[in-house]
Structures are given as C-alpha cells and as structure tokens.
Assembly symmetry: C2
Homo-oligomer: 541 residues x 2
C-alpha cells in the first residue's frame, strides 16, 4: 500500500517533468554553445536572434512544434535549403552532425541574447593612433584615392589594394565577417563594420594604412556611415546594430561613443512591439546634417539629425516615418536627392526624398529585391533611372527617378529586364561605362554563380552579354560584387570561394568587357565586397 503511494506520487512527478520536456531534444551545454554560435553566424541574419522571422521564416519552437516540424523535417530543410535559404548541408557549410545539432537546437527554447549597454561599448573603445599623431597630408606616394578596400569575409580582414598597380598595400584585421566599408567625405578614412559589432577606422594617408581607432558598438551590426553634409565632413559616424537593436553615434575621428538610441519599438500599422527591430542600411544625406536609417522589422525609416549633438544633453533628432516592413539595403539616385531602399520581403522599393525629408513612393518590384547600393544612370528615353536586381527571381527592375524632368516615368518600373538567372546580389555601373554589370552569387547552380552579365545602359532591349568567369568553377567560387575604379575605366569582381583556397579578383575593361588583370595571392581568401575610395566617398555607382 505504502509502496503504491510512493510509486503513484513518483509517476505524477515524472509525468509533470515529461510534459515540460515534451518533444524538446536535449543538448549538452557544449552543444548549446556551439549551436548558438552557428545560429548567430548562419541563421540570425534572416531569421533573427529571437527567431521571430524577417527575411526568413519564424523559427520559434512553439510554432515549429505546432506545425508538426520535428527534427527530421528540420534536418531535411537545413540540408537541402528552401526558397531563398541556402542548402547548408549540401553546400558543405554545415556537416551532417551540425545539421542534426541545429535541428535539435531549433526545438529548444530561444536562448535570451545577452544585453549590451552604452558603458560596455565605451569600455571597448581604443584610439590606436591619436588624431594629432596621424599624418597632416598623405604620406604615401600611391594614388590612394584609387585604393580598393577588399573584404576578406571569412577571415575577418580587409585588404587595401592599389587600384593603379593592383599591388597589395596592407591587410588589416577588422572583425568577424566584415559587412561593409564606408569612406569619410574626403576619402582618407575607411570605416569598417563587422558582424560582431566591431567598428574600425583605417587611415589611408599613412605609408602603410593602419587601424587608428576601434570600438565594439554592439554584438551584431551591419551598417556604418559618416557625416557627409557640408561643414560636418568626418565629424561623426553612426553604427547600425542588429543586436541589441539600436544605433550608436560616435566621434568621426576616434569612434568615441556619444549617444546610443534603441530602435526597439512598434511595427508600422498594427503596432505590435518588437525587441528585435534591426538597423539595416544607413546613408548620409547631402541635403541636411542627417543620416537616413532604415529600421528593418518595424518598416520605418528614421532621419537621424546630428547637428545638435555637441550641445548640452547630446540632442539627436529622429524623424520616424512609417515606410514598408523588412527594409534592407539601398542607394542614391543619380542626383543623390532620392534614396531608394529595398523592403525585401514586401517586394517593394521605398523612396525617400532627402531634400524635402519625405516618404515619396513605394514601388512594387520583383521577389526579394537586393540592390546593394543599386546602379543609377541617365537613359535616353526614361531619363535618370536607378536599378535593382532580385534574389528570388531573375528580374532587374529599372525605376524612373526624375519626377521633375520625366514625371511620366517617375517612381515606376520603366523596364523589367529578364536575366538568365535569379540569385543576384549586386548590380553596378559608372558614369564612364556603357554597361550595367550584374552578378548571380546566390543562384542555384555553380555555373550561374560563376557567371556575370552586362546590359547596355542606353538600350535595355538588347540582349545582355553574359560570360562564365574562367577559373571560378574550379575554385568552387561565386563571382560577387562589382566595383569600378576611380576613373571608371575598369571594374573588379571577387571570386568568393571557401576559406581553405585562395581565389582571385578579376579586373575587366569597363568599355570592352575584356579581362585586363587578375589579382591573386595567398591572401586572396574569400574576397567579397570591394570599395573604391573615390567612388565610395562620392557615392558613385
């Protein structure tokens, strides 16, 4: 009798435990740490650290379980990819063990991401070369305005390459998966931001460029820019964070943190509250002392005014405009008055007028637009236009951007070009080149990944010239990111391979599309984005 009571009580307790543990596969503490790391590196960008979804689907365990998505289902998806998601297993980026680990991890409760404070950011701040010890004039004899900053993505470095001689000038550590580089207005400094939230300033006037200041703004970041408005050139910089969702205004010469502003807040229209409300792209206005800051999940564009930040109480003015959800990247039209930014999951391009500081238009385009900064030029019929490619379909949308001179075409897709492949990430041109160059690094086949296409800017009806880049397939490399040199006489494209194999950067003639040179070397590991000093400083693309 007594034994029955014990056993009965035990069964009840065991049942309660089992219920709480239902369908949640166990992870060891070591597995949990490893899974969190992989999730941060490969998954959080699209699905969010809180797994609420954005560009990618919601992955909260209660939703997965409700939909009956167990370990096996998740392993299949992670292995083979789905929609815009890479085939992590098949591509060999995750091992079968890692795929299994991630499938189990996703059914566990979402770990609380760590907090981060202004004081913590400030504690990481270091000025490596004080401002008064930096060169007063360029020390180098090189044509530093034609330097290229090349991201060596998977080794966390930036290479400075002489665009005239194609020589390597310096290699600098810039943090995990450096995302972008931006230039000071005069081009002297490169500002880098890594996905680990580290911001760095590189001084290009030195004989050998060095990191002169660094600061960890947050735990995950994607964007940085400097103050470019007349009278404020290089005075401030801004860093846009994914986690915690916030931006940080810093001193433009030293990265000293000045003000941190949270972007957690309410989604436009329905107004549910989002802890993960990330800062996507940022550009520096040429019409006002402000940055245009795009808040991804909320669907808001914030105009962040920096002209009073030196006054008592560090005032920053923020104009909060509801635009479209899932804002990502974008760039200027030819006049640099209109900023065009992709709302990727909404299949739209949002237009902000930097002069009137207003939301002008929201333009339906193709599936998952990904312009980078896009490409702008003057078309003989449509006038000034700006173009974006797409990740999920094989379209290039060309949009009229001249409401005064060409009102009938303004804020409309004047031409939807058919490309041979989907999976475009970047599109680029230069005022001196007749060509619009397009890559396909996230297309589904290695052949497409190795291919580049060029359209004639003034006759979009003509078939493109497309070519497979020799050597790319052999290196298992994806050709990615086009950048022109200062004079617009050539453009560079990276062969993004894997971390074990040096690849190359190929240099093409901007008129003939003939290969002119190939930059190689042991150091050419996972090259991705490249930023020409003059073009980046002057927003030429």
């Amino acid at each position: 009798m007594r034994k029955r009571v014990w056993v009965g009580l035990f069964a009840v307790l065991l049942g309660a435990f089992a219920l709480a543990q239902q369908a949640v596969p166990k992870l060891t503490p070591e597995e949990m740490e490893r899974a969190k790391e992989i999730y941060f590196q490969q998954c959080a960008g699209c699905h969010g650290v809180l797994r609420k979804g954005a560009t990618g689907k919601n992955l909260e365990p209660e939703n997965l379980l409700k939909q009956g998505k167990g370990v096996d289902y998740l392993k299949t998806i992670i292995t083979n990819g789905f929609g815009g998601m890479p085939a992590w297993g098949k591509l060999g980026i995750l091992s079968p063990e890692e795929v299994d680990l991630m499938a189990r991890f996703l059914l566990n409760p979402v770990p609380e991401p760590p907090p981060w404070t202004f004081a913590e950011a400030k504690a990481t701040w270091r000025v490596l070369v004080p401002v008064n010890e930096r060169p007063k004039a360029p020390e180098t004899k090189r044509n530093w305005e034609n330097y290229f900053g090349v991201i060596l993505r998977d080794v966390g470095k930036v290479a400075i390459v002489d665009g005239d001689t194609k020589e390597l000038v310096a290699i600098l550590p810039t943090g995990y998966a450096t995302h972008i580089l931006r230039s000071s207005k005069d081009g002297r400094y490169f500002y880098t931001i890594g996905r680990d939230g580290w911001a760095k300033i590189i001084d290009l006037w030195m004989e050998k460029p060095k990191v002169v200041a660094e600061m960890r703004a947050c735990l995950d970041a994607r964007s940085i820019d400097t103050s470019k408005y007349e009278g404020y050139e290089g005075k401030y910089a801004i860093i846009g964070c994914y986690w915690p969702s916030a931006f940080l205004v810093v001193d433009g010469q030293t990265l000293e943190p000045i003000k941190m502003v949270s972007t957690q807040g309410y989604v436009k229209s329905q107004g549910e509250f989002l802890r993960e409300n990330r800062v996507a792209s940022i550009v520096s206005s040429h019409f006002s002392p402000e940055w245009i800051v795009n808040i991804k999940e909320a669907g808001q564009t914030w105009l962040v005014d920096y002209d009073k930040i030196d006054k008592k109480g560090r005032p920053v003015s923020i104009t909060v405009i509801d635009t479209e959800r899932f804002l990502h990247d974008g760039g200027w039209d030819k006049s640099k008055r209109y900023f065009l930014v992709a709302a990727n999951a909404m299949k739209k391009i949002v237009v902000i007028d930097a002069k009137t500081r207003e939301f002008v238009a929201s333009i339906p385009v193709g599936d998952k637009p990904h312009p980078g900064r896009g490409a702008n030029w003057v078309h003989p019929k449509y006038g000034p236009v700006w173009a974006t490619g797409h990740i999920k379909d094989n379209k290039i949308a060309v949009i009229g951007t001249d409401p005064e001179g060409h009102p009938e075409y303004a804020w409309k897709v004047v031409k939807m070009i058919e490309a041979p492949y989907p999976g475009n990430l970047f599109i680029k041109t230069h005022p001196k080149s007749p060509w619009l160059i397009v890559d396909f690094p996230v297309a589904p086949t290695p052949e497409a990944n190795a291919t580049l296409c060029a359209w004639q800017k003034d006759d979009l009806e003509k078939d493109p010239i497309c070519w497979q880049v020799p050597g790319a397939l052999e290196k298992k490399a994806r050709m990615v990111h086009i950048e022109f040199n200062k004079d617009g006489t050539e453009f560079w494209v990276s062969a993004w391979g894997n971390v074990d194999t040096p690849t190359f950067i190929v240099v093409y003639d901007a008129q003939t599309l003939k290969e002119k040179a190939r930059i190689t070397g042991d150091w050419v590991i996972t090259p991705t984005g490249k930023f020409n000093v003059y073009n980046t400083a002057n927003d030429i693309y």
Copy 2:
C-alpha cells in the same frame, strides 16, 4: 531494494522542486490576481510594474531575498510606511490581510505585464458625438470659461462645476483614478487621462457637457496634452503612457490614434536598457509645433514635433535630450518660454528652453521636488521667478527664470522658503493675487494635511499665514490642490477624504484669504485636482 530506488528517485525529484520554490510563499491564483490589482493601484506608480524602482525602491524578489527582507519585514514596512511611502496599513488603505498578501506577493517572481498594441488601442476608440454634430457655438448661457473640472479621484469621475455660481453642471465617468485634465487652446474641450489609460474628451459648449470621444491609449497612463501652437490649436493630442512605456499621438477632435512610439530605451550616461521607461509630464510648446515629453527612468526630455504627422508615413520628429533621471511634473515660467520639470529622486529641477529647443540648466533643490505645474510671478528683486515645493522636506524653492533681465539670479534658487511641514504636493498663484498658496497633503500628521499656508509673493521674508481648514480633520480629509478662478479673485482647494464620505471644496478670497464659499453635496467624493478652463487653456499658474 527496488523500493529504496523509488524512494531515492522521489526524494531527488522532490528536492529539485523544493529548490525551485525556495523562500517563495505560495499564492492562490485568486490571491495573485488580487495582489496584481493592488500592486497596480498602490505600488506601481513609484516602484514600477517591473519593480525596478524609480521614485520608490527596487522591489525585485531576488534583491529583497538577497537583503534578507522576508514576509515579516515587508509587512512592517507596508503597514507603517517608510521615507516617502505612505503607511498603507496604518492609514487603513490596506487591511492586515492585504498587507500580508502584498508581502508574500513581493517575494514571488514579477508577473509579466500584458502587452498592448496600436491595433488594440484603436479597437477601443469610440466617437460618441461626431464632430459635425457638436455645437458650432456655445449652447450654454453659463460662463463656461470659468468652469472647473474637478477630479473625483477614487470614484473615477470628473465633475464640471460652474465657477461663477458654484453649481454642479455635470458629472462624467472618466476612468480609474483620473490623473489630470488638460484644455484645448480655446478652452472648449477638456481632455482627461485615467491611470487605466483611458483618454476622454469632454465638450463644454454643450448645455450639459458630455464625453464626445474616448480611447484607451494603454494600460497605465499619466499625461495628456493638446497641440497649442498657432495654426495647430486642437488639431492633435498626445497621451503619455506608463505601461507599456510609450506615447500615442491622436486626432485632437476625435482621439483617433495616429502614431504610437515606444519609449523603451537606454538610460542617459550608463546606457542600460529599460523596458519600463515611463512618460511623465507633457506640455505643449508655444514656440514650435511640438510637445515637451519627459521620460522618467531614462532621464531624457523628448521634443516631439507634430507638424508633419499628416504627411505620407506619418512622420513624427523626436529630439532626444539627456537631462536628469526620474523626471516627474513641471510647468512654465511666466514667459512660457522656459519649462521647469522636477527630477524628483535626483533632487533637481531641469530647465528646457522651448524657443531654442535646448537643455538650459539643472538646478539642485530640496528632497523630492513635486511642483505640479509650479507657480510663477515677478518678484521685485529677483524678477520673474518660478517655485516648487517638496514631498520629503519642508522647503519651497524659488528659482530665478529671467536670464536676460536678471542674469545674476537665473537658474539659481534665489530663496529657499521654510514651510511649517514637509509633504507638499501643489503650489499655486495667479497674476491678480498677492499670495503663493501651498498645501501639505502628504505630511505625516492629519493636522498638517488639513493646513494651508500663504506667502506674500513680493516679500518672501515675511512669515506665512497658515490656517487649518475647518471641517477637514472631522472628515479625515487632506486639503489638496489649489486652483484659481478665471479672474483670479478666488481660489479653490479640495478636501480629499475617503470614498465613503462626501467632503467639500473650499473657496477663498484671493486677496483677503477669507473663506467665501464651500461646495458640498453627495457627489463631492474624493475631490483632488481641479482645472479652471481659462487658466488651464492659457497656462496661468
């Protein structure tokens, strides 16, 4: 043997349970609901819904336990009060059972407060009398500009009283513990905000004033104001929320929600993130189309610009200024250019210049300043001044507010008046009255609570005239909140009693300080704040 295993396993499981429950007193679900309700009503204002502390101490259970504060300690404090905290038990506001319940509740984990979205706020919105069905001109023959809106706090109502005849004109339900009333610029509408987040508009042009629109902005709110800048009069209103920490801009005629902005964010200087970052006082600028919005825990003053909110994307500009932590209430100087606001736990008054839109000064005053809107006048020696009383000490701080005419006194305490008691909540004057009137509703003795004092504005060295209001002690009432009539010939003070006993509002001659009249009636239950239409619309205090 087998039995031993069962028993052993059982003991282990039971131990794990016990550990998880250590020192956490059990509450039934009914007790939990009741405790949450009491906490919201009596405690959250000072300690915060998340119990992180603000005006009051941190009450998170892990901190209480760490400090060895158990049920008995907490019961003693809740019964007898501590520092600025009322003696909830002794005063009979909480029964001994409720005191015990609250002590146990505080040792339990902080319940997650409910969320609230823009869509939920909008779903509560009702226009009871459409704008085109409202009077085009005053329908009443009464002198409506001399109406007083009297908060009947503990019954959730507002009485409209004719200031000329002292007759009751209407009683309107306005929600739990209505906090303040504000007027449209023309005085026609009263805007009310309850601590339950309900906002209402009362139309005073009707023969019998009615609630013409209502909307629940959030779950806990303290402030409301309207657009008063020339050209925008009555166009918009703003509601400041405690939970969720946010503000909501609404249509000024109908309360239709337009934009909700979260105020969750980083504390000034150290920059730790706060979910509970509440909107304290709000005033409407006379120099720009903006409101001055005070964010309590972060120590920030936000200038919220409403002049573009009708454009595409509903732009709102917010200038975020770091001022001082624990901002509370405040009011204008005589010129209505400078807004002075208490940072109560910092023992400071913050000054904002509405013309230059800058943070001007932070002035040390006494312990826990509580100005209400304060009092302003011109002193023969110091020039224009503004004064605040204090909750925790018996001082009245008089501050010079004329940096141009009297720079030697500007932003300094020119006179610290000694009052007979601490526990002041409100202070008031009128340009036509020689007196500065002061109450003591939160002083520690019933005699002090029943007392009012008057200082001669032009000779602050003279002893005050103080008197105990006849009838207050008998009604166990605290005399609270002074308001002048339109002409400044009389002032009214409420006798704040308990919910079972009607009390009175006493009317004094503003020159002689003699009692002129007493407003009584069954409806005079827990009268507190009173708002004269003309003085509230024109910021006269």
